[in-house]
Assembly symmetry: C3
Homo-oligomer: 342 residues x 3
């Protein structure tokens, strides 16, 4: 690849450019392993020691590192180098990725009552059912199934193999990865004589704008009302969102986390990987649940919450875990000692 | 929607109807937010305080709340209001949902040796391989793949994007949600000189009647014999059932739970979300494993079992977790004190 | 089925055959429930007590059990009976399974610039995009989507409904089960004013030879460089591999485990079911993480590591868990007692 001159980047994305504007960049890459045609970024102080020794042609840094970066070659100084890097990846992708083929593939099966906006792309063998509406410039990947009366907002992109259930809707500029299932039935049954009677799930799923949903994640339809994902939420892979859950705007959830039914999660929360949130509880805005923790009660105060058994070598764990089973008794023994000790 | 008169509901589903039989119901909904044309139910005492203030046109209650409900408007009194509500959702869905298109979609790819019963629906672009048998009135969703010699029982419904592997079978009246994979290979390898030699998985998966399986759940085929799911089992989303597992009738498992190989789970068990069941163990009938717990040994007595690190604010957790790593030593210190204390 | 004479098995797979070489075997099965035409194996001492009572026609055993096995009927003595059993399942599958239909199904959608090797099988309704390359004798299952410029190595088999993203590659002799998503975007965002700015994921996924990947597992593409899975790795179902992860050769991971971004796992590791590995850490070669444990720091020494709250009956757990929240304070009380006690 011929690459792009640094001046093109700085012209479009801003920042103070130090060094040769004509330097051609062929790759975005980490400081380690960078070449003279690589542009790197330094946001995490953890990697600061790599700066001087890196062969990167240009490094994006914050104001505090301006001189250190300039001393070794070209640099772009930006208030928030990590954000600058994010925008650079978008700039780069727009210029280097093969564009999605435009238009509707001949093999797609589209009901005549479905409505497609201007500039919609529909991949091979996709299915769009009766009454569905696809917004302008949306991309429906190969093998997607868009259920009856479902709605996809403008400029939203569905990767191959996404299922959007009947009556469910996603807003604008969303990104949905392969294998995602939106609108399967919530898990609801009434017990009767040792069996389980199905509660039909009559609600749908309503997803806001600018939402990204990772591969094989599931978002169930509501029992009566809708399951709701607000604007700007980002969900990683293999996440379970049960029926009637409400997730506030700009909350992020890492892979393999799960939220049980009818729970409300606030805005700007961060749910760690494999964390579990019990049903019928509330998390306030700005709550952070650490990786692997089980939130078993409402948390109404912002902050970070954790509940993970600390990993240890197996023999040490065995001893401590065995003792843990007598922890309550141990406390009683300490109490007894305290009573006896003057 | 015009809705349905209360009398239609009571005629079909029973219960004592108090109030105007001609009252038209347009929606089933929770007490909170109900309108005069909403029918609600009150089964969970947690919501009893909402009864008097709700604007619901009709409330389904148990005998104990008969008078309280009648004092505020129409009511249906049923022995088990939650079960009544479940049946009402079914009654409702049957009357309001668009019926699945009947017949076999022209784009489906069906081997000539496959056998389809009467009234079978096959969605767009589904694939049915050689020797497969589809029971009467079954629904095979768009993009499903039914492997060679697989069997789908009468009236079982597969949502779009389900894979039923060769030789696997599911009974009657089942519901399988999108992304489910039945009959992938179990995870079996023999170690040899630092590598892993594949053990071909020669069994299949055998699923009983009235089983529901949630989105993206996986049930692996057995190594030699079959993996077995008995009648009435309900599995939520993103569950892993390994090879040779046997799950007893009417057991329910919540989302993201997992059962490792060759384990036997009894009937009427309840496995909480994200709970993990070790391989080669046995759970008796009527065992309840709490959300997030790891069952690492056989449990032969009914009851509820839990093993979850209690969540706490992060700084408190850090202190307690650090101490936990010295718990065994702490017990020794208590022992030493006990010896010294008269 | 007529089955196969024991002599055929011993001729191809070796071992010392004791007993009638003409004995016909119709089934491989466990000792328990075996019939006179079943071949069983005894590798796990746990099942040794079943040997004498089993009706198996032939038992595969190690040298130490030669006499005990011969005393009851036919036997094959092999240095490693479990490995012998693994190879027998392969031998069996090759002779009894219906072969995949050869050639390219007429309904597949294959870009004219894709390159297919000799003897490639492409299932119904598969999609192969521009520039993809499929190696000799590879099998692409029904409904798979092979992205632009992706590469599938020779003799690798993809089950139905696999997505291999653009530019991603898998080596030779791999097995990929249904629902697997390779090459979805890694989960990367830069925070800005309470929102999340997408970091485009510019890397790909690079998978070595002899890798098996279980159903609905996800492997994300790298942010800048590639996510890498080395030769011989075996991944079970519903596993999450985040961007920039590197997994060393011959490591195995059980179902529902997860690795967060930029973590390096060594060779020959074993990751238990539902175990979670934090991001940006390193596990050395030969590290074993127990089921359900969270590895929250680098582990540089081989060995087994565990962190699981021991399961207990719920009332006992409640008492111990409540006390655990005061564990640090309890230690302080013990310290105070120690100071007071002479």
């Amino acid at each position: 690849m011929d690459g792009f001159p640094l001046s093109d980047i700085a012209k479009d994305l801003g920042g103070e450019l130090i060094g040769d504007p004509a330097l051609r960049i062929t790759r975005i890459g980490p400081l380690e392993g960078a070449t003279p045609s690589t542009i790197s970024h330094l946001s995490n102080p953890r990697y600061q020691s790599q700066l001087a020794g890196s062969h990167a042609g240009c490094v994006i840094v914050g104001p505090a590192l301006r001189d250190a970066a300039a001393a070794r070659g070209a640099a772009i100084v930006a208030d928030d180098p990590y954000l600058y890097y994010a925008r650079l990846t978008q700039w780069w992708a727009a210029r280097t990725r093969a564009p999605a083929p435009l238009g509707v593939h001949a093999s797609a099966v589209i009901d005549s009552s479905a409505v497609l906006g201007a500039g919609v792309t529909v991949g091979a063998l996709a299915v769009i059912e009766a009454g569905a509406r696809i917004g302008d410039a949306a991309v429906i990947g190969a093998h997607c199934v868009i259920g009856a009366d479902a709605i996809v907002g403008a400029a939203t992109r569905l990767a191959p193999h996404v299922v959007l259930g009947s009556g469910c809707r996603i807003g604008e500029r969303g990104i949905v990865h392969s294998g995602v299932v939106i609108g399967a039935d919530g898990f609801g049954f009434a017990p009767t004589q040792g069996r389980w009677e199905k509660i039909e799930q009559l609600g749908a799923v309503r997803i806001g704008d600018d939402v990204e949903i990772g591969a094989n994640t599931c978002i169930d339809r509501g029992a009566l009302d809708d399951t709701v994902i607000e604007d700007g939420v980002k969900l990683d892979n293999l996440i379970q969102i049960a029926h009637n859950v409400h997730i506030g705007a700009h909350t992020v959830m890492a892979g393999c986390s799960a939220v049980a039914g009818s729970t409300t999660i606030g805005a700007h929360c961060q749910i760690g990987g494999a964390a579990m949130i019990l049903g019928h509880i509330t998390l306030a805005d700005h709550v952070i649940i650490s990786m692997g923790s089980a939130a078993t009660r409402s948390i109404l105060k912002p902050g970070q919450y954790t509940g993970v058994f600390p990993i240890d070598d197996n023999s040490a764990w065995e001893k401590n875990a065995a003792t843990l089973r007598q922890l309550h008794a141990l406390r009683e023994r300490v109490r007894a000692l305290e009573k006896k000790t003057p």
